[in-house]
Amino acid sequence: MDAIILQILNGLDKGSAYALIALGLTLIFGTLGVVNFAHGALFMLGAFCAVTLNRLLTLSFETIDETKTDFLGNPMKVKTPYVEAWFGPETGAAIIDWAVPLSILFAIPIMIAIGFAMERGLIKHFYKRPHADQILVTFGLAIVLQELIKLFFGANPIPTPAPDIFRGSFDFGVLLGFDPNVIIYPYWRMVYFLFAMVIIGGVFAFLQFTTFGMVVRAGMADRETVGLLGIDIDKRFTFMFGLAAAVAGLAGVMYAPINSPNYHMGMDFLVLSFVVVVVGGMGSLPGAVLAGFLLGILESFASMTWVKDIVPGIDQIIIYLVAIIILLTRPRGLMGRKGVMED
């Protein structure tokens, strides 16, 4: 029992990442009808927003501290980050410590701007082209983004720590009456899961309860009619692309402490997120979220030792296997709508 709960918990954080990326993919697909292979790259860009802010905050200047000497007896050079000099040592250190959560504020405008630029500059020209062309051009874009990041940040993963108070683990088992240290769960993963839930809830609320969201939903259902009513639906769809980019970016920002960002993390997630979208049903937002969590948890179950003893290698292929079975038995995915991508 405790093992099962542990695996569910372990699956949640990866599942949240899948769900967030798949949500963005589905938003883009549902509104603009574009298959965006560069979405994983947006996730990666988000993670590197956190890295960049971390670096900016730790920019420092050198002073010579007369009170301390190094082993040769010379006055020692001390590096002080600018932030500490401006806000005082304690506040400054706290700001640096909270670099990752702060990057959320930093990442939102950047990601929305990148999303706008991508849609207006490139994807706009591909609405009327076949899906294969859209896949190919965004695939090319993903390579370019990835290589640019590699150029600036190098090929190695860059550790980006979470704030100090989130280090360590939470003893989850005690709450449920298990022995201590049976079910422990790192605080940051819990934060990630809650954060993902907030974002997902926010996106759904935005679509459900605002006029803007209502128009967007109407546009997803029947673009032409909305256009005929005198609403500039293209402008709103562009905004939705920016929003989807921001969702992917935020997923990346918060994921940085879990896995040190490297330039190809986006591609690794992209392939799986596509599988998630297809399993959930192309164009269905709840489907994408559901399938994201489902596959994340399944993956973590499959990596349990006794499961691997029965079916060796199952942890490596479970997601693809499930996708194949679902695509063959339920062609529209778990919650796919009729008439979407049926050719």
């Binding site: 490139l122 020209h125 899906h131 294969a132 051009v137 090319g140 370019v144 150029l151 596509f274």
Partner: protein
């Protein structure tokens, strides 16, 4: 000739000439001149040109004709490589049985994957093939280690049985791959003045196989079967209403292209007898898609051009470093030279993928028909210009341009 009309026979002859004369054509610069780094006429690279040419020709039969975009073809290449290396380990170092086995195994594998994947079309098909390829890749890395030797990759060892051949040579080395005694790595170097040309046995084997593969694809393109495949691409629904079932045709195309990929994998292993799982990764599948699109999907010669283009520039670009750039621009004033080198630096050397990505985006956006379409547009431009001098054609009565096959 050989059941081809005049135009196709010309194309075939051009391909034959290009393939057989490649050692001359790819080494246009004297070997000690500054431009020698643009030479591509050494055996290893030439072999890769034709092998990836075969891979792309096969992929084009599926993608170019039927429009089904597979993102998992590297799996067949990998399977082909593994089976060829196993043949070297167990049977003999002769490459022919190895290549045959790799075609057969890749064919069987593609029957399995194709049968399942082709139940869906469009993006679902792409995802299914991607899923299958990633599955094979992950399995090759983990559980199938006894067969694939996991991360290290499958290699020949001195205690392999090699029933029909010898386990080790007299000098105690692993024997080299050969065709009835002719070693694949044997190279005859011809020196003509300042030039030197390499004639490699392995390259010529690959080249002859590529010519055969190209001829086969030419016949498929012109056959009633090829016509059916095009019909699948242009309007599958109409095909259904006509009472024809497209599935056997698409499946056949899938298997043929899988066998081409297996052949390419077998040849790769024959030239260099090792096989690794990274050959099956989805980035490798992406590469063949790039080659086909870049050259021109649905055209005969496009994939070969695309494969050659990518492999050539991959090799040349990654050799250019800052020193070379400084050498080139040394005639410029100091500041300008440094700026130019600084600007170009990200695109050369290790940054080759960046150049490739940008190039690929440009091609997809502006030249959906690839290099072949680019060539056609250029030649049309010149022809029009020369015609403009004598008579201007009436634009009203000009026949409309027929849509390109690749669209």
């Amino acid at each position: 000739m050989l059941g081809l009309d005049k135009k196709d026979a010309t194309i075939l002859l051009v391909v034959i000439a290009l393939a057989l004369l490649a050692p001359f054509l790819l080494n246009p610069f004297p070997s000690n001149s500054g431009l020698a780094q643009f030479n591509a006429g050494y055996p290893d690279l030439m072999q890769r040109f034709v092998i990836f040419g075969i891979f792309a020709i096969g992929f084009n039969i599926l993608f170019g004709l039927t429009g089904y975009l597979s993102f998992g073809h590297a799996a067949f290449l990998g399977v082909g490589s593994y089976s060829a290396v196993w043949m070297f380990k167990l049977l003999s170092m002769n490459v022919l049985p190895a290549i045959l086995l790799s075609i057969v195994i890749a064919g069987l594998f593609s029957v399995l994957i194709g049968y399942v994947s082709l139940r869906r079309s469009g993006i679902y098909f792409s995802i299914l093939t991607l899923a299958f390829a990633q599955m094979s890749f992950n399995l090759a890395y983990s559980v199938l280690t006894p067969i694939t030797n996991g991360e290290t990759g499958l290699q020949l060892t001195l205690d392999d049985p090699r029933v029909l051949g010898q386990t080790a040579t007299a000098s105690g080395n692993i024997p080299a791959t050969n065709v009835f005694g002719l070693e694949m790595r044997s190279t005859y170097t011809m020196d003509v003045g300042a030039w030197s040309f390499d004639f490699n046995a392995g390259y010529y084997l690959c080249a002859i196989i590529m010519i055969l593969a190209f001829y086969l694809s030419l016949r498929i393109f012109r056959s009633p079967f090829g016509l059916m495949l095009r019909a699948v691409k242009s309007n599958q629904q109409r095909l259904n209403y006509t009472g024809l079932n497209p599935k056997p045709y698409t499946l056949a195309a899938f298997i043929i292209s899988g066998m081409y990929a297996g052949l390419a994998g077998g040849l790769l292993a024959s030239m260099d007898p090792l096989a690794g799982a990274e050959r099956m990764q989805w980035t490798a599948s992406g590469e063949v898609v790039l080659m086909t699109i870049l050259g021109g999907a649905g055209t005969l010669i496009g994939p070969v051009l695309g494969a050659g283009f990518i492999k050539y520039f991959e090799n040349i670009f990654s050799k250019i470093n800052d020193n070379v750039l400084h050498q080139w621009f040394s005639f410029l004033p100091e500041g300008m030279e440094d700026t130019l080198v600084f600007l170009l630096h990200p695109f050369v050397g290790k940054g080759w993928h960046l150049t490739l990505g940008i190039l690929f985006m440009l091609v997809v956006t502006f030249l959906p028909g690839g290099l072949v379409e680019g060539g056609q547009r250029l030649s049309r431009l010149f022809r029009r210009r020369s015609r403009d001098t004598d008579t201007t054609p009436d634009p009203e009565h000009h026949p409309k341009e027929s849509p390109h096959v690749a669209e």
